[in-house]
Protein backbone atom coordinates (compact mmCIF):
# COMPACT_ATOMS: atom_id res chain seq x y z
CA UNK A 1 0.00 0.00 0.00
CA UNK A 2 2.89 2.33 0.65
CA UNK A 3 6.21 2.61 -1.15
CA UNK A 4 8.09 1.33 1.83
CA UNK A 5 5.92 -1.72 2.22
CA UNK A 6 8.54 -3.97 0.67
CA UNK A 7 11.09 -3.02 3.29
CA UNK A 8 8.81 -4.05 6.15
CA UNK A 9 9.07 -7.59 7.44
CA UNK A 10 6.23 -9.74 6.18
CA UNK A 11 3.68 -10.15 8.95
CA UNK A 12 3.46 -13.48 10.70
CA UNK A 13 1.13 -15.90 8.97
CA UNK A 14 -1.69 -16.74 11.36
CA UNK A 15 -2.77 -20.30 11.95
CA UNK A 16 -6.48 -19.87 12.71
CA UNK A 17 -6.92 -23.45 13.84
CA UNK A 18 -4.12 -23.08 16.38
CA UNK A 19 -5.61 -19.78 17.49
CA UNK A 20 -9.07 -21.34 17.75
CA UNK A 21 -7.76 -23.64 20.46
CA UNK A 22 -7.58 -20.55 22.66
CA UNK A 23 -11.33 -20.02 22.26
CA UNK A 24 -13.34 -22.48 24.34
CA UNK A 25 -16.63 -21.46 22.76
CA UNK A 26 -15.49 -22.36 19.24
CA UNK A 27 -14.71 -25.98 20.05
CA UNK A 28 -18.24 -27.24 19.71
CA UNK A 29 -21.38 -25.63 18.39
CA UNK A 30 -24.59 -25.88 20.41
CA UNK A 31 -26.63 -27.44 17.62
CA UNK A 32 -24.30 -29.96 16.03
CA UNK A 33 -21.36 -30.44 18.36
CA UNK A 34 -19.17 -29.55 15.39
CA UNK A 35 -16.77 -26.60 15.59
CA UNK A 36 -18.71 -23.34 15.77
CA UNK A 37 -18.25 -21.50 12.48
CA UNK A 38 -18.59 -18.11 14.13
CA UNK A 39 -18.91 -15.49 11.41
CA UNK A 40 -20.36 -12.65 13.45
CA UNK A 41 -17.27 -11.08 14.99
CA UNK A 42 -18.29 -7.68 13.64
CA UNK A 43 -21.12 -7.73 16.17
CA UNK A 44 -18.92 -8.97 18.99
CA UNK A 45 -15.81 -11.13 18.97
CA UNK A 46 -15.33 -14.31 20.96
CA UNK A 47 -12.87 -14.29 23.88
CA UNK A 48 -9.67 -16.29 24.18
CA UNK A 49 -8.85 -18.19 27.34
CA UNK A 50 -6.17 -15.57 28.03
CA UNK A 51 -8.77 -12.83 28.39
CA UNK A 52 -11.12 -15.00 30.45
CA UNK A 53 -8.16 -15.99 32.65
CA UNK A 54 -7.27 -12.34 33.16
CA UNK A 55 -10.74 -11.62 34.51
CA UNK A 56 -10.60 -14.64 36.79
CA UNK A 57 -7.11 -13.66 37.97
CA UNK A 58 -8.31 -10.18 38.85
CA UNK A 59 -11.24 -11.41 40.90
CA UNK A 60 -9.34 -14.28 42.50
CA UNK A 61 -6.04 -12.62 43.16
CA UNK A 62 -5.90 -8.88 42.68
CA UNK A 63 -9.26 -7.24 43.00
CA UNK A 64 -10.15 -4.04 44.82
CA UNK A 65 -11.50 -0.67 43.92
CA UNK A 66 -8.81 1.37 42.18
CA UNK A 67 -6.88 4.58 42.80
CA UNK A 68 -7.57 5.30 46.45
CA UNK A 69 -6.93 2.13 48.37
CA UNK A 70 -3.76 1.89 50.41
CA UNK A 71 -3.61 -1.88 50.72
CA UNK A 72 -1.89 -4.45 48.52
CA UNK A 73 -4.77 -5.60 46.32
CA UNK A 74 -5.82 -2.00 45.72
CA UNK A 75 -2.32 -1.19 44.54
CA UNK A 76 -2.26 -4.29 42.33
CA UNK A 77 -5.63 -3.54 40.76
CA UNK A 78 -4.64 0.07 40.18
CA UNK A 79 -1.32 -0.91 38.62
CA UNK A 80 -3.01 -3.37 36.26
CA UNK A 81 -5.80 -0.92 35.49
CA UNK A 82 -3.44 1.90 34.60
CA UNK A 83 -1.16 -0.61 32.90
CA UNK A 84 -4.05 -1.42 30.57
CA UNK A 85 -4.32 2.26 29.75
CA UNK A 86 -0.70 2.23 28.70
CA UNK A 87 -1.34 -0.85 26.54
CA UNK A 88 -4.19 0.94 24.79
CA UNK A 89 -1.97 3.97 24.31
CA UNK A 90 0.71 1.87 22.72
CA UNK A 91 -1.75 -0.09 20.55
CA UNK A 92 -3.00 3.06 18.81
CA UNK A 93 0.31 4.93 19.17
CA UNK A 94 -1.05 7.80 21.24
CA UNK A 95 1.54 10.10 22.76
CA UNK A 96 0.47 9.70 26.38
CA UNK A 97 -1.90 7.54 28.43
CA UNK A 98 -3.56 10.77 29.54
CA UNK A 99 -5.22 10.73 26.12
CA UNK A 100 -6.94 7.40 26.76
CA UNK A 101 -10.37 7.54 28.43
CA UNK A 102 -12.12 4.32 29.34
CA UNK A 103 -15.81 4.20 28.41
CA UNK A 104 -18.43 1.45 28.14
CA UNK A 105 -17.71 1.22 24.45
CA UNK A 106 -17.67 3.06 21.14
CA UNK A 107 -21.16 4.42 21.69
CA UNK A 108 -20.38 6.03 25.03
CA UNK A 109 -17.11 7.41 23.65
CA UNK A 110 -18.97 9.16 20.83
CA UNK A 111 -21.64 10.44 23.20
CA UNK A 112 -18.88 11.85 25.39
CA UNK A 113 -17.43 13.86 22.52
CA UNK A 114 -20.85 14.93 21.25
CA UNK A 115 -21.87 16.18 24.71
CA UNK A 116 -18.61 17.57 26.03
CA UNK A 117 -16.94 18.91 22.91
CA UNK A 118 -20.10 19.31 20.84
CA UNK A 119 -22.20 21.29 23.26
CA UNK A 120 -19.37 23.69 24.03
CA UNK A 121 -18.09 24.17 20.48
CA UNK A 122 -21.08 23.95 18.16
CA UNK A 123 -23.66 26.61 17.40
CA UNK A 124 -25.79 28.03 14.62
CA UNK A 125 -23.82 28.36 11.39
CA UNK A 126 -21.54 25.48 12.31
CA UNK A 127 -21.37 22.33 10.23
CA UNK A 128 -20.73 18.75 11.28
CA UNK A 129 -19.98 16.40 8.39
CA UNK A 130 -20.45 12.68 8.65
CA UNK A 131 -21.13 9.99 6.04
CA UNK A 132 -24.05 7.97 4.77
CA UNK A 133 -22.26 4.85 6.02
CA UNK A 134 -22.53 5.52 9.72
CA UNK A 135 -23.61 3.14 12.41
CA UNK A 136 -26.47 4.63 14.46
CA UNK A 137 -23.93 5.24 17.23
CA UNK A 138 -22.04 7.77 15.14
CA UNK A 139 -25.17 9.29 13.66
CA UNK A 140 -27.88 9.75 16.29
CA UNK A 141 -25.61 11.52 18.85
CA UNK A 142 -24.73 14.09 16.18
CA UNK A 143 -28.34 14.51 15.11
CA UNK A 144 -29.14 15.26 18.74
CA UNK A 145 -26.28 17.63 19.44
CA UNK A 146 -26.87 19.48 16.16
CA UNK A 147 -30.56 19.85 16.99
CA UNK A 148 -29.65 21.14 20.45
CA UNK A 149 -26.98 23.61 19.30
CA UNK A 150 -28.31 24.74 15.95
CA UNK A 151 -25.41 23.28 14.02
CA UNK A 152 -26.09 21.51 10.74
CA UNK A 153 -25.38 17.84 10.05
CA UNK A 154 -24.30 17.02 6.50
CA UNK A 155 -23.41 13.76 4.82
CA UNK A 156 -20.66 12.55 2.55
CA UNK A 157 -22.71 10.45 0.14
CA UNK A 158 -22.12 6.87 -0.95
CA UNK A 159 -22.51 5.45 -4.41
CA UNK A 160 -24.70 2.45 -5.11
CA UNK A 161 -21.97 0.08 -4.02
CA UNK A 162 -21.60 1.86 -0.71
CA UNK A 163 -18.30 3.55 -1.49
CA UNK A 164 -17.88 7.13 -0.28
CA UNK A 165 -18.11 9.75 -3.03
CA UNK A 166 -15.55 12.45 -2.31
CA UNK A 167 -15.96 14.40 -5.56
CA UNK A 168 -17.72 17.35 -4.10
CA UNK A 169 -16.43 17.58 -0.58
CA UNK A 170 -16.04 21.33 -0.62
CA UNK A 171 -19.74 21.83 -1.22
CA UNK A 172 -20.28 20.23 2.19
CA UNK A 173 -18.36 23.04 3.85
CA UNK A 174 -20.15 25.87 2.08
CA UNK A 175 -22.34 28.41 3.80
CA UNK A 176 -21.09 27.77 7.30
CA UNK A 177 -18.11 26.87 9.43
CA UNK A 178 -16.98 23.27 9.21
CA UNK A 179 -16.17 22.28 12.79
CA UNK A 180 -16.06 18.51 12.81
CA UNK A 181 -15.83 15.63 10.39
CA UNK A 182 -16.81 12.33 12.00
CA UNK A 183 -16.37 9.17 9.97
CA UNK A 184 -16.68 5.44 10.37
CA UNK A 185 -13.25 4.03 9.55
CA UNK A 186 -14.56 0.70 8.30
CA UNK A 187 -18.29 0.19 7.75
CA UNK A 188 -19.77 -2.61 9.83
CA UNK A 189 -22.47 -3.15 7.22
CA UNK A 190 -20.45 -3.21 4.03
CA UNK A 191 -16.77 -3.31 4.88
CA UNK A 192 -16.19 0.00 3.11
CA UNK A 193 -12.91 1.56 4.17
CA UNK A 194 -13.06 5.35 4.51
CA UNK A 195 -10.08 7.04 2.80
CA UNK A 196 -8.87 9.04 5.80
CA UNK A 197 -5.80 10.04 3.83
CA UNK A 198 -8.12 12.19 1.71
CA UNK A 199 -10.72 13.15 4.29
CA UNK A 200 -8.35 14.29 7.05
CA UNK A 201 -6.38 16.84 4.98
CA UNK A 202 -9.63 18.20 3.59
CA UNK A 203 -11.09 18.60 7.08
CA UNK A 204 -7.88 20.18 8.34
CA UNK A 205 -7.83 22.62 5.42
CA UNK A 206 -11.15 23.91 6.78
CA UNK A 207 -9.81 24.01 10.32
CA UNK A 208 -12.14 21.20 11.37
CA UNK A 209 -11.47 18.37 13.81
CA UNK A 210 -11.72 14.74 12.74
CA UNK A 211 -13.34 12.03 14.82
CA UNK A 212 -13.04 8.41 13.72
CA UNK A 213 -15.42 5.61 14.69
CA UNK A 214 -12.85 2.84 14.93
CA UNK A 215 -15.20 0.12 16.18
CA UNK A 216 -14.50 -1.96 13.06
CA UNK A 217 -10.96 -0.80 12.30
CA UNK A 218 -9.02 -0.89 15.55
CA UNK A 219 -9.72 -4.62 16.09
CA UNK A 220 -8.78 -5.53 12.53
CA UNK A 221 -5.98 -3.37 11.15
CA UNK A 222 -3.16 -1.20 12.46
CA UNK A 223 -4.51 2.19 13.52
CA UNK A 224 -1.95 4.87 14.39
CA UNK A 225 -3.65 8.01 15.60
CA UNK A 226 -0.59 10.16 15.04
CA UNK A 227 0.01 8.92 11.51
CA UNK A 228 -3.65 9.40 10.66
CA UNK A 229 -3.55 12.96 11.98
CA UNK A 230 -6.97 12.64 13.59
CA UNK A 231 -8.35 14.19 16.78
CA UNK A 232 -10.66 11.60 18.35
CA UNK A 233 -10.95 7.83 18.02
CA UNK A 234 -13.62 5.61 19.55
CA UNK A 235 -13.58 1.84 19.82
CA UNK A 236 -14.87 -1.12 21.87
CA UNK A 237 -12.98 -3.87 23.66
CA UNK A 238 -15.68 -6.48 23.04
CA UNK A 239 -15.02 -6.35 19.30
CA UNK A 240 -11.29 -7.01 19.73
CA UNK A 241 -11.68 -10.16 21.84
CA UNK A 242 -11.78 -8.21 25.09
CA UNK A 243 -14.54 -8.20 27.72
CA UNK A 244 -17.93 -6.66 27.23
CA UNK A 245 -18.69 -3.43 29.04
CA UNK A 246 -15.56 -1.47 28.16
CA UNK A 247 -14.09 0.59 25.35
CA UNK A 248 -12.01 3.67 24.86
CA UNK A 249 -12.04 7.21 23.65
CA UNK A 250 -8.74 8.55 22.49
CA UNK A 251 -8.46 12.31 22.03
CA UNK A 252 -5.62 14.76 21.53
CA UNK A 253 -4.50 15.96 24.93
CA UNK A 254 -4.98 19.68 24.35
CA UNK A 255 -8.53 19.06 23.13
CA UNK A 256 -9.46 16.82 26.03
CA UNK A 257 -7.85 19.24 28.47
CA UNK A 258 -10.04 22.06 27.20
CA UNK A 259 -13.26 20.05 27.25
CA UNK A 260 -15.59 20.10 30.25
CA UNK A 261 -16.28 16.84 32.03
CA UNK A 262 -19.46 15.09 30.98
CA UNK A 263 -20.35 12.76 33.83
CA UNK A 264 -19.78 13.77 37.44
CA UNK A 265 -19.04 11.89 40.63
CA UNK A 266 -16.24 10.04 42.34
CA UNK A 267 -12.81 9.68 40.65
CA UNK A 268 -13.21 12.68 38.36
CA UNK A 269 -13.06 15.39 41.00
CA UNK A 270 -10.17 17.19 42.62
CA UNK A 271 -11.91 19.19 45.32
CA UNK A 272 -15.56 19.25 46.28
CA UNK A 273 -17.47 21.69 48.47
CA UNK A 274 -21.21 21.76 49.02
CA UNK A 275 -21.26 24.78 46.71
CA UNK A 276 -19.23 23.46 43.80
CA UNK A 277 -16.36 21.30 42.61
CA UNK A 278 -13.11 21.38 40.68
CA UNK A 279 -12.07 18.50 38.49
CA UNK A 280 -9.26 16.03 38.21
CA UNK A 281 -6.57 15.91 35.54
CA UNK A 282 -6.75 13.83 32.40
CA UNK A 283 -7.70 11.09 31.91
CA UNK A 284 -9.66 10.76 35.18
CA UNK A 285 -11.62 13.95 34.56
CA UNK A 286 -13.73 11.93 32.15
CA UNK A 287 -14.03 8.77 34.25
CA UNK A 288 -16.75 9.36 36.84
CA UNK A 289 -17.50 6.64 39.36
CA UNK A 290 -16.00 3.24 39.89
CA UNK A 291 -14.76 2.15 36.48
CA UNK A 292 -15.03 -1.25 34.81
CA UNK A 293 -12.02 -2.56 36.71
CA UNK A 294 -11.73 -6.22 35.70
CA UNK A 295 -12.94 -5.32 32.20
CA UNK A 296 -10.29 -2.66 31.64
CA UNK A 297 -7.63 -5.11 32.80
CA UNK A 298 -9.11 -7.72 30.46
CA UNK A 299 -9.03 -5.17 27.65
CA UNK A 300 -5.28 -4.98 28.21
CA UNK A 301 -5.10 -8.77 28.16
CA UNK A 302 -6.87 -8.80 24.78
CA UNK A 303 -4.25 -6.40 23.38
CA UNK A 304 -1.53 -8.65 24.77
CA UNK A 305 -3.26 -11.59 23.12
CA UNK A 306 -3.28 -9.84 19.76
CA UNK A 307 0.44 -9.23 20.16
CA UNK A 308 1.03 -12.84 21.16
CA UNK A 309 -0.53 -14.32 18.03
CA UNK A 310 1.49 -12.14 15.70
CA UNK A 311 0.12 -8.65 16.01
CA UNK A 312 -2.58 -6.61 14.38
CA UNK A 313 -0.87 -6.49 10.95
CA UNK A 314 -0.88 -10.28 10.84
CA UNK A 315 -4.57 -10.32 11.73
CA UNK A 316 -5.25 -7.82 8.94
CA UNK A 317 -3.39 -9.98 6.43
CA UNK A 318 -5.23 -13.10 7.53
CA UNK A 319 -8.57 -11.34 7.29
CA UNK A 320 -7.76 -10.07 3.85
CA UNK A 321 -7.09 -13.60 2.69
CA UNK A 322 -10.26 -14.94 4.34
CA UNK A 323 -12.36 -12.13 2.93
CA UNK A 324 -11.07 -12.72 -0.59
CA UNK A 325 -11.73 -16.43 -0.24
CA UNK A 326 -15.22 -15.90 1.13
CA UNK A 327 -16.03 -13.31 -1.48
CA UNK A 328 -15.22 -15.71 -4.24
CA UNK A 329 -17.25 -18.53 -2.70
CA UNK A 330 -20.31 -16.36 -2.21
CA UNK A 331 -20.07 -14.66 -5.59
CA UNK A 332 -20.39 -18.07 -7.20
CA UNK A 333 -23.77 -18.78 -5.59
CA UNK A 334 -26.64 -18.15 -8.03
CA UNK A 335 -28.97 -15.34 -7.00
CA UNK A 336 -26.60 -14.11 -4.30
CA UNK A 337 -25.76 -10.40 -4.39
CA UNK A 338 -22.77 -9.08 -2.49
CA UNK A 339 -22.97 -5.51 -1.31
CA UNK A 340 -20.13 -3.09 -0.69
CA UNK A 341 -16.72 -2.70 -2.26
CA UNK A 342 -15.32 -5.34 -4.61
CA UNK A 343 -12.86 -8.02 -3.57
CA UNK A 344 -9.73 -6.25 -4.74
CA UNK A 345 -10.44 -3.00 -2.94
CA UNK A 346 -9.23 -1.99 0.48
CA UNK A 347 -12.07 -3.26 2.61
CA UNK A 348 -12.89 -4.73 5.98
CA UNK A 349 -13.63 -8.40 6.59
CA UNK A 350 -17.37 -8.05 6.27
CA UNK A 351 -19.35 -9.86 3.58
CA UNK A 352 -22.84 -8.42 3.31
CA UNK A 353 -25.28 -10.02 0.91
CA UNK A 354 -28.83 -10.73 -0.11
CA UNK A 355 -30.10 -13.85 -1.82
CA UNK A 356 -33.02 -13.80 -4.22
CA UNK A 357 -36.11 -15.54 -2.91
CA UNK A 358 -34.89 -15.63 0.67
CA UNK A 359 -34.91 -13.21 3.56
CA UNK A 360 -31.70 -12.65 5.56
CA UNK A 361 -33.37 -13.71 8.80
CA UNK A 362 -34.38 -17.03 7.33
CA UNK A 363 -30.90 -17.48 5.92
CA UNK A 364 -29.35 -16.86 9.33
CA UNK A 365 -31.79 -19.17 11.08
CA UNK A 366 -31.18 -22.02 8.67
CA UNK A 367 -27.41 -21.57 8.89
CA UNK A 368 -27.61 -21.59 12.68
CA UNK A 369 -28.97 -25.13 12.57
CA UNK A 370 -25.56 -26.05 11.10
CA UNK A 371 -23.71 -23.95 13.70
CA UNK A 372 -22.75 -21.37 11.13
CA UNK A 373 -23.38 -18.00 12.80
CA UNK A 374 -24.01 -14.92 10.73
CA UNK A 375 -25.98 -11.76 11.37
CA UNK A 376 -29.12 -10.64 9.56
CA UNK A 377 -30.74 -7.25 9.69
CA UNK A 378 -29.95 -3.61 9.26
CA UNK A 379 -26.76 -3.79 11.32
CA UNK A 380 -27.63 -0.53 13.09
CA UNK A 381 -27.41 1.31 9.77
CA UNK A 382 -31.05 1.77 8.82
CA UNK A 383 -30.57 4.87 6.65
CA UNK A 384 -27.76 3.19 4.72
CA UNK A 385 -29.97 0.16 4.06
CA UNK A 386 -32.66 2.46 2.73
CA UNK A 387 -30.11 4.32 0.60
CA UNK A 388 -29.00 1.01 -0.93
CA UNK A 389 -32.57 -0.10 -1.45
CA UNK A 390 -32.51 -3.14 0.81
CA UNK A 391 -34.48 -3.88 3.95
CA UNK A 392 -31.85 -6.05 5.52
CA UNK A 393 -28.77 -8.03 4.58
CA UNK A 394 -27.11 -11.20 5.71
CA UNK A 395 -23.61 -10.49 6.97
CA UNK A 396 -20.67 -12.80 7.54
CA UNK A 397 -17.59 -11.33 9.17
CA UNK A 398 -14.16 -12.79 9.80
CA UNK A 399 -11.49 -12.56 12.49
CA UNK A 400 -8.21 -14.08 13.57
CA UNK A 401 -9.86 -17.44 14.29
CA UNK A 402 -11.73 -17.71 10.98
CA UNK A 403 -10.77 -20.65 8.78
CA UNK A 404 -11.41 -21.47 5.14
CA UNK A 405 -13.53 -24.35 6.41
CA UNK A 406 -15.79 -21.90 8.24
CA UNK A 407 -16.39 -20.14 4.94
CA UNK A 408 -16.86 -23.43 3.08
CA UNK A 409 -19.54 -24.33 5.61
CA UNK A 410 -21.16 -20.96 5.02
CA UNK A 411 -21.26 -21.58 1.28
CA UNK A 412 -22.55 -25.14 1.75
CA UNK A 413 -25.20 -23.87 4.10
CA UNK A 414 -26.32 -21.25 1.62
CA UNK A 415 -26.70 -23.99 -0.97
CA UNK A 416 -28.94 -25.85 1.47
CA UNK A 417 -30.94 -22.66 2.12
CA UNK A 418 -31.59 -22.44 -1.59
CA UNK A 419 -32.78 -26.04 -1.66
CA UNK A 420 -35.10 -25.49 1.33
CA UNK A 421 -36.61 -22.50 -0.40
CA UNK A 422 -37.00 -24.44 -3.62
CA UNK A 423 -34.43 -22.33 -5.43
CA UNK A 424 -32.08 -25.14 -6.31
Amino acid sequence: MTDSASTLPAPTQLDPLRISEDFPILASGPNTGERLAFLDSAASAMKPRQVIDSIVATYEGGYANVHRGVYHHAATATRHFEGAREKVRSFINATTPREVIFTRGTTEAINLVANSWGRTNLGPGDIVVTTELEHHSNLVPWQQVCAATGAELRFIPVDDTGVLVLDDLDALAEGGTLKLVTVVHVSNSLGTHAPLDLIVPWAKSHGALVMVDGAQSVPHRPVDVQALGIDFLAFSAHKLMGPSGVGALWGREELLAAMPPWQFGGEMIRRVEYSGATFNDLPWKFEAGTPAIAEVIGFGAALDYIESIGGIAAIAAHEQAMTAYGYELLAAIPGLHLLGPGPGEDRGGVLSFTMDGTHPHDVATLLDARDVNIRAGHHCTQPLMKRLGVHATARASVYAYTTREDLDRLADGLGEVRRVFGLA
Binding site: H361, D362, L366, A369, H378, H391, F421, G422
Partner: protein
Protein backbone atom coordinates in the same frame (compact mmCIF):
# COMPACT_ATOMS: atom_id res chain seq x y z
CA UNK B 1 -32.51 -28.17 8.75
CA UNK B 2 -35.70 -28.95 6.86
CA UNK B 3 -37.49 -29.52 10.17
CA UNK B 4 -36.95 -25.93 11.13
CA UNK B 5 -38.95 -24.65 8.24
CA UNK B 6 -41.57 -27.29 7.63
CA UNK B 7 -43.01 -27.55 4.18
CA UNK B 8 -46.19 -26.11 5.71
CA UNK B 9 -44.43 -22.81 6.54
CA UNK B 10 -42.67 -22.63 3.20
CA UNK B 11 -45.91 -23.32 1.39
CA UNK B 12 -47.63 -20.44 3.18
CA UNK B 13 -44.59 -18.23 2.44
CA UNK B 14 -44.63 -19.00 -1.27
CA UNK B 15 -48.40 -18.95 -1.60
CA UNK B 16 -49.81 -16.83 1.18
CA UNK B 17 -53.49 -17.17 1.99
CA UNK B 18 -55.58 -14.01 1.97
CA UNK B 19 -52.91 -11.93 0.32
CA UNK B 20 -54.22 -8.69 -1.18
CA UNK B 21 -56.58 -5.89 -0.19
CA UNK B 22 -60.22 -5.62 0.85
CA UNK B 23 -62.51 -3.11 -0.86
CA UNK B 24 -64.26 -2.14 2.35
CA UNK B 25 -62.45 -3.20 5.53
CA UNK B 26 -63.94 -2.54 8.97
CA UNK B 27 -60.47 -1.67 10.20
CA UNK B 28 -56.87 -1.92 9.10
CA UNK B 29 -53.42 -1.45 10.57
CA UNK B 30 -49.81 -1.75 9.65
CA UNK B 31 -46.69 -2.54 11.60
CA UNK B 32 -43.00 -3.15 11.23
CA UNK B 33 -40.46 -5.13 13.13
CA UNK B 34 -37.67 -2.56 13.24
CA UNK B 35 -35.13 -5.27 14.01
CA UNK B 36 -35.39 -6.94 10.64
CA UNK B 37 -37.58 -4.77 8.48
CA UNK B 38 -40.55 -7.12 8.32
CA UNK B 39 -43.66 -5.19 7.31
CA UNK B 40 -47.33 -6.07 7.31
CA UNK B 41 -50.47 -4.19 6.30
CA UNK B 42 -53.60 -6.00 7.44
CA UNK B 43 -57.26 -5.30 6.68
CA UNK B 44 -60.13 -6.94 8.52
CA UNK B 45 -63.87 -7.02 7.77
CA UNK B 46 -66.28 -7.77 10.62
CA UNK B 47 -70.03 -8.48 10.56
CA UNK B 48 -72.68 -7.15 12.92
CA UNK B 49 -71.95 -9.91 15.44
CA UNK B 50 -68.33 -8.72 15.57
CA UNK B 51 -67.31 -11.86 13.76
CA UNK B 52 -64.41 -11.68 11.28
CA UNK B 53 -65.70 -12.27 7.78
CA UNK B 54 -62.57 -11.49 5.78
CA UNK B 55 -58.88 -10.72 6.23
CA UNK B 56 -56.41 -9.49 3.64
CA UNK B 57 -52.81 -8.52 4.04
CA UNK B 58 -49.82 -7.28 2.10
CA UNK B 59 -46.27 -7.04 3.30
CA UNK B 60 -42.77 -8.20 2.90
CA UNK B 61 -40.26 -9.85 5.12
CA UNK B 62 -39.00 -13.19 6.24
CA UNK B 63 -40.72 -16.51 5.76
CA UNK B 64 -41.73 -16.64 9.40
CA UNK B 65 -43.51 -13.30 9.50
CA UNK B 66 -45.25 -13.74 6.18
CA UNK B 67 -46.21 -17.37 6.67
CA UNK B 68 -47.41 -16.69 10.20
CA UNK B 69 -49.65 -13.94 8.93
CA UNK B 70 -50.97 -16.22 6.25
CA UNK B 71 -51.73 -18.96 8.77
CA UNK B 72 -53.19 -16.47 11.23
CA UNK B 73 -55.48 -14.97 8.62
CA UNK B 74 -57.02 -18.39 7.93
CA UNK B 75 -57.40 -18.93 11.64
CA UNK B 76 -59.18 -15.75 12.59
CA UNK B 77 -61.73 -15.75 9.83
CA UNK B 78 -64.93 -16.87 11.54
CA UNK B 79 -63.73 -15.89 15.04
CA UNK B 80 -65.35 -13.06 16.99
CA UNK B 81 -63.20 -10.05 17.87
CA UNK B 82 -63.29 -11.11 21.51
CA UNK B 83 -61.91 -14.48 20.53
CA UNK B 84 -59.16 -12.79 18.53
CA UNK B 85 -58.41 -10.48 21.44
CA UNK B 86 -57.90 -13.52 23.63
CA UNK B 87 -55.23 -15.00 21.35
CA UNK B 88 -51.68 -14.78 22.62
CA UNK B 89 -48.13 -15.82 21.93
CA UNK B 90 -48.78 -19.46 22.69
CA UNK B 91 -51.58 -19.66 20.17
CA UNK B 92 -49.31 -18.35 17.43
CA UNK B 93 -46.52 -20.71 18.42
CA UNK B 94 -48.94 -23.60 18.27
CA UNK B 95 -50.33 -22.50 14.92
CA UNK B 96 -46.95 -22.37 13.23
CA UNK B 97 -45.65 -25.42 15.04
CA UNK B 98 -41.90 -24.69 14.96
CA UNK B 99 -39.36 -23.77 17.62
CA UNK B 100 -38.13 -20.20 17.47
CA UNK B 101 -35.54 -18.10 19.25
CA UNK B 102 -36.88 -14.87 20.78
CA UNK B 103 -35.73 -12.76 17.84
CA UNK B 104 -37.53 -14.98 15.37
CA UNK B 105 -40.53 -15.19 17.66
CA UNK B 106 -40.99 -11.48 17.12
CA UNK B 107 -41.25 -12.20 13.41
CA UNK B 108 -43.92 -14.81 14.07
CA UNK B 109 -45.91 -12.51 16.35
CA UNK B 110 -45.88 -9.50 14.07
CA UNK B 111 -49.16 -10.50 12.40
CA UNK B 112 -51.09 -10.91 15.64
CA UNK B 113 -49.69 -7.66 17.01
CA UNK B 114 -50.75 -5.72 13.91
CA UNK B 115 -54.24 -7.20 14.04
CA UNK B 116 -54.53 -6.31 17.72
CA UNK B 117 -53.28 -2.78 17.13
CA UNK B 118 -55.98 -2.37 14.48
CA UNK B 119 -58.60 -3.68 16.87
CA UNK B 120 -57.51 -1.24 19.57
CA UNK B 121 -57.58 1.68 17.19
CA UNK B 122 -60.98 0.64 15.89
CA UNK B 123 -62.38 0.30 19.41
CA UNK B 124 -60.77 3.53 20.51
CA UNK B 125 -58.95 1.81 23.35
CA UNK B 126 -55.32 2.53 24.17
CA UNK B 127 -53.02 0.38 22.11
CA UNK B 128 -49.83 -1.02 23.63
CA UNK B 129 -47.04 1.56 23.39
CA UNK B 130 -45.58 -0.13 20.35
CA UNK B 131 -44.37 -3.33 18.84
CA UNK B 132 -41.69 -3.90 21.48
CA UNK B 133 -44.07 -2.98 24.22
CA UNK B 134 -46.29 -5.98 23.68
CA UNK B 135 -45.90 -7.94 26.85
CA UNK B 136 -45.97 -11.37 25.31
CA UNK B 137 -42.73 -10.56 23.51
CA UNK B 138 -40.83 -9.61 26.63
CA UNK B 139 -37.42 -11.23 26.47
CA UNK B 140 -37.20 -12.14 30.07
CA UNK B 141 -39.99 -14.66 30.00
CA UNK B 142 -39.15 -16.76 26.96
Amino acid sequence: MDDLYREYILEHYRNPQNYGTLPDPTFEAEGQNPLCGDELHVQVAVDDDRRVTAVKFTGQGCAISQASMSILSDEIIGKTLDEVAAMNKDDVVELIGIDLTPVRLKCALLGLVVVKMGMHEHAGTAAPAGWEGVDEISWGTT
